[in-house]
Symmetry: C5
Subunit: 82 residues, 5 copies
């Protein structure tokens, strides 16, 4: 998994079908600064520290028949404890 | 997913079988500048900002028996809103 | 697999369901210095040298229905012998 | 997919079983210059521009029971048109 | 696949179960110099040039129920011919 921070929402009106309910959030990996777009079902907000899983396991967790999603926010990081 | 911009079409006359209908588009990842070739079924145009999913989930979404496609444009990014 | 050293625990109270029992540990890849978060079921400690496997095979080894885990500590490295 | 150019053949006499018929070709990714070894069933030649797919979808396309091949040349790029 | 050279053996006494018979070998990718740990069933030796496959196809080739192995040496490179 990658430790990352939410930067902004990404909106896509013209998209393929079979995308489940949720949001596309651009996140920045920490440390490093690489950016990617992760799917979010937790209601994560801009500035929140999150854990991102990538690859086919992200899609396998989502409902439906393997949606074409390759990155998923799986949790919010407790910043005061880490 | 990766946020990217379409650079050009890639044509391939001599290719293996089992490639479904669609186009090969070279895209440039933003930010970063890495380039890759994604499969497109949305009719995306040069200069368009797109979301690209990579890995086996790209192939799993496509029709047929797991075509050898490892990157798929899943949406066009609404640039005025993002 | 990646050779890495455990840096710290990552805590996540708000997370998606279907995460099995275990810990999230931030590790630093050696050599290189890249960081990632791996799932641990071996009770690895801070400073320990470990072997990390990534991708869908990490999830396939864990119990349950393909949890969204993309990195797993599969062993502790015997530092006196390596 | 990656856009790449064929550099040389790689020969391996001592290898595991279940490698299907074909050639191992070292290719250089363009742009970027990263090198990898891709499996080829199209008879691609040194200097030819090719499209390379990576990951499990490369193996899934090949005959047999998921050979351990993680990169496959899926087409020759029409250089006069691209 | 990656072209790499064997650097050293990695020993792990405390490890998870379901690792099949074989050795963990640290290899250095050529060119580039990135290091990773690959599983070996061919008896490869230090200094030997090898072909390494990565990802889930490495595990799929191994016996047992998808061991958590993400890199496998699939052959020794014939250096006089390549």
């Amino acid at each position: 998994m990658l430790r990352a921070r939410v930067i902004q929402s990404i909106w896509s009106t013209k998209k393929i079908d079979s995308i489940p309910s949720g949001a596309f959030l651009e996140v920045e990996v920490e440390p490093g600064g690489t950016r990617l777009v992760a799917f979010d079902v937790l209601g994560s907000g801009v500035g929140e520290a999150v854990l991102v899983t990538t690859g086919s396991v992200a899609a396998a967790w989502l409902p439906g028949d393997t949606p074409p999603i390759d990155a998923l926010i799986i949790g919010s990081i407790d910043e005061e404890r880490t």
